[in-house]
C-alpha cells in the first residue's frame, strides 16, 4: 500500500480565495471593533459592572462630601469627590475589561474570535479600543453623577466652576479609559481572571496604599509614578502636584502602553 505522499505532485492553488465578498461592512480593524462591541454588550456581566460602578460612585461621593461637611474641611472644588471615588470605581472598569478578555479563554471562544480576526494586534487593539470608549463614556457619566451627588451632600462646603468641573469630568473619563487599556493588556498576558485581578488590584490599589501608609517623600514619589498616583494628580484639583496634568497623562498612558505591549507579546507567542 502507499505509505507517505509524493511531494512532487503539488498542484498550484487553482481556486483563488474570495476574501472580498464586496458587501456588508468592511473587515479589518473596523470589523474587529464592531465584533468586540457586539460581544461586550451581549453578556449581562458588562451591564452589571457599569451598574456597580454607578452605585459605588453614588455611595462614595455621598460619603466623601458628607464627611467633608461634618468635619468642616476647607472648601474644595466639588468635582474632587468624583475624582477621589475613582480609586474604587476604577475596579468596575477593571472587572469589565478583564472579563471581556478572560471569559473568552475560559469558554474557549477565543479560538472562534481568532478565527475571525487572525491578526493578533488587530483583535487586541479592537478590544482595548472598545473597552477604552466604554470606560471613557462610563467614567465621564459617573463623574457627572458623582459631582451632582456630592454637590448636594457638601451642602455649601464646595465650590463649583463650570470650566474646571468640565475638565475634571473629562480627566476622570480619560483616566478610566487608560485603565481599561491597561487592563486589557494585563488580561491578555495572564489569560485568567484571578491572575489579571491580582496584578491590577496590587498595582492600582494595594501598592499605593502600602507606599502612602508607610509614608516618606521617597515612597510618595514612587506612588506619583504609579498609574493611580499620577491619575489622581490628573483628576484632582487644588492639591499641589509634582508635575503638570500633561505629564500625569503621559505616565498613565505609558503604563497602559507597556501592559498593552506585554499582552500583545504573549498573545502573539503563545498558542491559542
Amino acid at each position: 500500500m502507499t505509505i507517505l505522499t509524493t511531494p512532487g505532485e503539488r498542484a498550484n492553488p487553482a481556486r483563488t480565495v474570495p476574501d472580498t465578498p464586496g458587501r456588508g461592512t468592511p473587515g479589518g480593524l473596523a470589523g474587529a471593533i464592531a465584533s468586540e462591541w457586539t460581544k461586550l454588550f451581549s453578556v449581562r456581566a458588562s451591564y452589571l459592572c457599569l451598574l456597580a460602578g454607578l452605585a459605588i460612585t453614588g455611595v462614595f461621593t455621598y460619603y466623601y462630601a458628607s464627611i467633608a461637611r461634618i468635619n468642616e474641611h476647607p472648601v474644595q472644588p466639588v468635582g474632587n469627590a468624583a475624582a477621589s471615588s475613582a480609586v474604587l470605581v476604577q475596579f468596575a472598569v477593571v472587572v469589565l475589561a478583564t472579563v471581556a478578555v478572560t471569559s473568552e479563554y475560559s469558554t474557549g471562544s477565543v479560538r472562534v474570535s481568532l478565527l475571525s480576526v487572525p491578526r493578533r494586534h488587530v483583535i487586541q487593539a479592537a478590544k482595548a479600543l472598545v473597552a477604552a470608549v466604554v470606560a471613557f463614556v462610563a467614567g465621564t457619566t459617573f463623574a457627572v453623577v458623582g459631582t451632582a451627588v456630592a454637590w448636594v451632600a457638601f451642602d455649601g462646603r464646595a465650590s463649583f466652576e463650570a470650566g474646571p468641573s468640565l475638565l475634571q469630568v473629562l480627566a476622570i473619563g480619560l483616566y478610566q479609559a487608560l485603565v481599561a487599556v491597561l487592563t486589557v493588556g494585563v488580561a491578555f498576558a495572564t489569560r485568567h481572571p484571578a491572575g489579571a485581578l491580582s496584578v491590577l488590584v496590587t498595582l492600582l490599589w494595594a501598592l499605593p496604599s502600602v507606599l502612602l501608609g508607610l509614608g516618606g517623600p521617597a515612597l510618595a514619589d514612587v506612588n506619583d509614578h504609579l498609574p493611580h498616583g499620577s491619575g489622581d494628580h490628573l483628576m484632582r484639583l487644588g492639591a499641589e502636584a509634582p508635575y503638570t496634568p500633561a505629564t500625569a497623562v503621559l505616565i498613565v498612558a505609558a503604563w497602559a502602553a507597556t501592559a498593552h505591549l506585554i499582552g500583545l507579546c504573549v498573545l502573539r507567542r503563545r498558542d491559542a
Binding site: A14, P21, S35, L115
Partner: protein
C-alpha cells in the same frame, strides 16, 4: 486547497506533529484519521493559525491563515462546538463573527435556518444541547460561504439524524468543488463520507490515499462461499489452496472463507469444476479493520513502543470490529 509543508509541532520534548507534508484537494471529502493524541487537532489548529508550528507551514490556497483578510470567507472551521460564551445567544455569537469579516447580518439568519437552529437562535448558547452546539458550530463554518471547510469531529454529540445531515452537507459541499477536511474517530461514518484519507499516527503521516485504495491495500481480496456437498467442497478447497497466497478456512456449517480470491474468481473456478454453490459473496473489508491493520503495522516499524499499540487500539471502539 490546503497545503502542508513539513509541518512540525514540538511541545517540550514531545513531537506532537512530525514533518507532515500533504495536500487536501478541492472537490472531495478528505478524512483525517489517527488515534487519540496522534496530532489531528494540533494539525488543524496550525492550519487555522491558532497554534504556531515549530517548523514548516500550512497554507490555504497558497497563503498562511493569518494573511487572509476575511478568513471566514476563505475557510470555515469548527473545532470545539462547545466553545461559546454560555450567556450569549447563538445568533449574537455568529453576528460577532460576521461583523469581524464584513459579512451581512442577514447571512447569519440564513445559516441558522440552514442548520435548523432558527427557533433557538436567540436563546443563550449555554442552554443548547451538544447536538445544537454542533449545529451552531457548523453554522459558524458556513457563515462566510467559504471554499474550504475544516471540521474537527463534526458528528460528535449529534443524533442519527444529525449525523446523516452532516454527511449530506459535507458531500454536497465537496460536490460543489469545495475542499472539505474533516476528522472523526467514527470509522463507519468516515467510510460513508470520505473520498480520500489522510492517516497519521504519533504525529507522522502513515497514509495519504483514496478510500478505495486504502481499503484494497489493507487486506487482500477475500470471499465466502457455501458449498452444500462435502465432496465437492473438498475438491474445490484442493483446487483453491494450490495457488500461491490463498488460504481457506472451513466452518463447521460448511462455509468456506477464502483469502486471496474474489467471489468472481471462486465462481469461475466452481463453474469450471462443476461444483454447486449455494452462496457466494465478497468480504467487504471495513474501514475500521483496514485502519486497525495499518496502525498495527505502523506501530511495528515506527518507534515500536508497546505503549503505542494500546493507543491505537484505544482509539476505536471495539464493538462490531469484525466485518
Amino acid at each position: 486547497m490546503i497545503t502542508l509543508e513539513g509541518l512540525t509541532k514540538r511541545y517540550g520534548g514531545t513531537l506532537a506533529v512530525d514533518e507532515l507534508t500533504f495536500d487536501v484537494q478541492a472537490g472531495r471529502v478528505t478524512g483525517f484519521l489517527g488515534p487519540n493524541g496522534a496530532g489531528k487537532s494540533t494539525t488543524m489548529r496550525m492550519i487555522l493559525g491558532l497554534d504556531h508550528p515549530t517548523r514548516g507551514r500550512a497554507l490555504i490556497a497558497g497563503r498562511p491563515y493569518a494573511d487572509l483578510r476575511r478568513p471566514l470567507c476563505a475557510v470555515g472551521a469548527m473545532l470545539d462546538a462547545r466553545a461559546v460564551h454560555p450567556a450569549r445567544s447563538g445568533r449574537t455569537h455568529l453576528v460577532a463573527q460576521a461583523r469581524a469579516n464584513g459579512i451581512p447580518v442577514r447571512r447569519v439568519d440564513e445559516v441558522l435556518e440552514r442548520v435548523g437552529l432558527a427557533k433557538a437562535a436567540r436563546r443563550p448558547a449555554g442552554t443548547y444541547s451538544l447536538g445544537m452546539s454542533g449545529r451552531l458550530g457548523v453554522a459558524g463554518a458556513l457563515l462566510g460561504d467559504p471554499p474550504v471547510l475544516v471540521l474537527d469531529e463534526p458528528v460528535n454529540g449529534l443524533d442519527p439524524d444529525g449525523v446523516r445531515w452532516i454527511r449530506r452537507l459535507v458531500r454536497d459541499q465537496a460536490a460543489e468543488g469545495r475542499t472539505v477536511f474533516l476528522s472523526s474517530h467514527l470509522m463507519s461514518e468516515m467510510q460513508l463520507t470520505a473520498d480520500h484519507l489522510v492517516v497519521i499516527g504519533r504525529g507522522r503521516l502513515l497514509s495519504d490515499t483514496s478510500m478505495t485504495d486504502f481499503l484494497a491495500a489493507a487486506s487482500p481480496a477475500s470471499a465466502r462461499a457455501v458449498v452444500p456437498d462435502p465432496e465437492e467442497r473438498a475438491a474445490l478447497v484442493r483446487r483453491l489452496v494450490t495457488a500461491e497466497g490463498v488460504s481457506v478456512e472451513t466452518s463447521p456449517s460448511g462455509e468456506l472463507t477464502v483469502e486471496g480470491r474474489t467471489a468472481a474468481e471462486i465462481g469461475d473456478l466452481a463453474h469450471h469444476c462443476r461444483v454447486r454453490l449455494h452462496r457466494l459473496s465478497d468480504v467487504r473489508v471495513s474501514l475500521e479493520q483496514a485502519y486497525m491493520d495499518l496502525t498495527a503495522r505502523s506501530v511495528e516499524y515506527t518507534t515500536g513502543g508497546s505503549g503505542a499499540d494500546t493507543t491505537a487500539a484505544a482509539a476505536v471502539p471495539n464493538e462490531g470490529a469484525r466485518p
